[in-house]
């Protein structure tokens, strides 16, 4: 459904834009319907840039992004973009800044109606909104007709997902949507993503938190400095990380039942087998992947 091939993003930086910063380097990945793909990386790994490029919020430098067969990275014009956003929507990190505090929170729904469904009758629209709110497991009594400050972060975040669902979307880009939520409400939003997946929605889940990426996703992509370090089925990536960088990352994640010392001791006792990583010549900015086992790829080592 969504297909990124050889996507690069180069920012011009420095006083006169003379220097270049490669934020995304030769990324290839796909998202199928009914699949959650986690993009995991530390700050500066390019994970959010990929999300923004898919949403058309920033241009790609080279390569292509295809959605249902059509190249969407070079969509021009208001109506073409509007059609694209009917099928692809994003939800972002900070739910509090996504709402205008002066208006009631459900204004986001009426804005969708005025731009996408102007001809729908009031009763039909109301049913549609209630259905979307039910899907995100909110009680309409508690959330409609309220101002943003009267709702919790988890409720606001779920309202934004409900807003996206009004549009019959096929792909949701979820950029760090739970980083600002409390532990007790985080899991509700994650479970909601699981429900949406079962309804056939493709989700690109951008996160820096490895345990959250693991909980909900089918496939995981670990990014480092803009290039893919490792990509594969989530279970395999977490049980058998092949790239040295993924191993390092996993050993640093605070776990609930094992201390760092225990993880280190275990790693030292059973040192993982090294795999041969692909290499590129100096000056070559491609980032080839090698398939080590079925569907499980490792990428180049960058220092």
């Amino acid at each position: 459904m969504l297909e990124l091939s050889h996507v690069h993003k180069v920012y011009r930086v420095g006083a006169f834009g003379g220097a270049k910063l490669r934020a995304v380097r030769d990324v290839n990945l796909t998202v199928k319907p009914g699949e959650v793909v986690s993009l995991i990386g530390e700050s500066g790994s390019g994970k959010s840039t990929i999300g923004k490029m898919v949403l058309g919020l920033t241009r790609i430098s080279s390569g292509s992004i295809r959605f249902e067969g059509a190249d969407v990275s070079r969509i021009r014009g208001f109506s073409a973009k509007k059609e694209y956003y009917r099928r692809v929507q994003g939800v972002f990190q900070d739910p509090f800044s996504s709402f205008n505090p002066i208006f009631k929170a459900d204004r986001v729904f009426s804005m969708i109606r005025s731009s996408y469904f102007p001809e729908m009758s009031d009763a039909d629209w109301r049913d549609k909104v209630l259905a979307a709110i039910g899907t995100v497991r909110l009680d309409p009594e508690n959330v409609l007709n309220k101002y943003p400050h009267q709702l919790s972060g988890g409720q606001l975040q779920r309202l934004l997902i409900a807003r996206a669902l009004l549009l019959d979307i096929k792909l949701l880009v979820a950029d760090e949507i739970i980083s600002m939520l409390d532990a007790s409400t985080r899991i509700d939003v994650l479970n909601l993503l699981g429900d949406l997946k079962e309804r056939g929605l493709g989700i690109l889940f951008v996160t820096h938190d490895l345990s959250l990426g693991n909980y909900v996703s089918d496939r995981s992509v670990i990014l480092r400095k803009g290039a893919i370090a490792e990509m594969g089925p989530t279970r395999r990536v977490f049980e058998n990380p092949l790239h040295p960088y993924s191993r390092h990352l996993l050993s640093c994640v605070p776990q609930l039942h094992r201390t760092w010392a225990e993880v280190d001791a275990e790693l030292a006792a059973n040192p993982p087998e090294d795999v041969e990583l692909p290499t590129v010549a100096d000056g070559d900015d491609s980032a080839p992947l090698v398939e080590v086992e079925k569907g499980h790829f490792v990428g180049i080592d960058q220092n």
Binding site: E42, S43, S152, G153, D182, A183, S184, T185, R186, I187, D188, L190, N191, G194, H208, D209, L210, S211, L212, N214, Y215, V216, T234, R235, F238, H248, L249, L250, C252, V253, P254, Q255, L256, H257, T259, W260
Partner: protein, 317 residues
């Protein structure tokens, strides 16, 4: 006993009345203890951290006492607190980026800070360099501006700076929350190292990340709606929590290795109560699955096992 907090009440003054952010908090912190302070946002954990060092304009000390190394800490008196600040009680804030003055080189900033607290910079210069090296920083950072350092480096500079005079108590408020996982680990490990070397006597580590607390803290205190829910050794809180809130909170945390296919975790239904007019009795009773009539009385914080305290009617027996 390094720190003893007794029935501390701190309210925020607002136009609509007092917000009961801390409502009767009592606990002890032993020498050399790192205590993790966890809870949802708005439970009062940051307020507790701030109350121990400086009350801002909206905060009002209503009741309760704080004792540090046997001395009374006069938190309500801003001026009388000055001898304690930095010398005895120190703070590592969440965003080191905003804790450092962008217009000063780091060395000069530390000199100014020391002079403001009546310490000659030369007397600790040697120690400062040694500690920077200990946390893996080149002493050359003293000649740099904050903008030249990465987030993790800045966080370590702030940590060295905050503990330079060997305070009795260090309050770290979400000190590693803004960092990447690998940087987070090294900063957290340096904090434990500082405690082991006696640079700080004891530490309160405020965080929302319980799995991080388990890695470094000796004890964990869980707060809910301005009160203490449970305090116990870290492994007890994770493996055998007794308070229903703690149980549900631990149960809602996804781990590396759990997926939706194995088992679906459950969140805690409902939201924490507003503290402008806090409910009577146990504050968790509206979200608690085992609440009953006795919960309309405030449950006292009792020691159910040695070192294991919980405030719930159902755990006391």
């Amino acid at each position: 006993m390094t720190l003893r907090v007794n029935d501390l009440k701190v309210y925020y003054q607002t136009l609509r009345g007092d917000v009961h952010a801390l409502d009767g908090v009592s606990f002890d912190l032993a020498d050399g203890e790192i205590m993790g302070l966890a809870g949802e946002s708005g439970c009062g954990k940051t307020t507790l951290g701030k109350s121990l060092i400086r009350l801002d304009g909206r905060m009002r000390h209503v009741d309760g006492t704080i004792e540090l190394d046997g001395k009374d800490v006069p938190i309500a008196d801003d001026r009388a607190m000055n001898p304690f600040r930095y010398h005895e009680i120190s703070l590592v804030p969440q965003y080191a980026m905003s804790a450092l003055n962008p217009t000063r080189k780091i060395g000069r900033m530390i000199d100014e800070l020391l002079r403001a607290r009546g310490v000659r910079p030369a007397s600790v210069a040697e120690e400062l360099r040694r500690r920077l090296e200990l946390v893996g920083l080149d002493p050359d950072v003293l000649n740099r501006f904050p903008i030249e350092l990465s987030g993790g480096m800045k966080q370590r500079v702030v940590m060295v700076m905050a503990t330079l005079l060997n305070p009795s108590l260090l309050i770290a408020d979400e000190a590693t929350s803004a960092l990447d996982v690998s940087t987070q680990r090294s900063v957290a490990e340096s904090m434990v190292e500082f405690r082991d070397r006696g640079y700080v006597k004891s530490m309160i580590f405020v965080t929302h990340d319980i799995s991080l607390v388990y890695q470094m803290a000796d004890t964990v205190m869980v707060m809910y709606a301005g009160r203490i829910a449970e305090k116990a050794p870290a492994s007890t809180i994770i493996n055998a929590p007794r308070h229903p809130y703690t149980k549900m909170l631990i149960g809602a945390l996804p781990e590396v290795g759990t997926t939706t296919e194995d088992a679906r975790l459950e969140g805690i239904p409902g939201t924490p109560p507003g503290l402008l007019n806090p409910p009577t009795g146990c504050r968790f009773k509206d979200r608690c699955p085992i609440a009953s009539e006795e919960c309309s009385e405030v449950p006292p914080l009792v020691e159910i096992d040695p070192g294991h305290w919980a405030a719930c009617w159902k755990t006391g027996r």
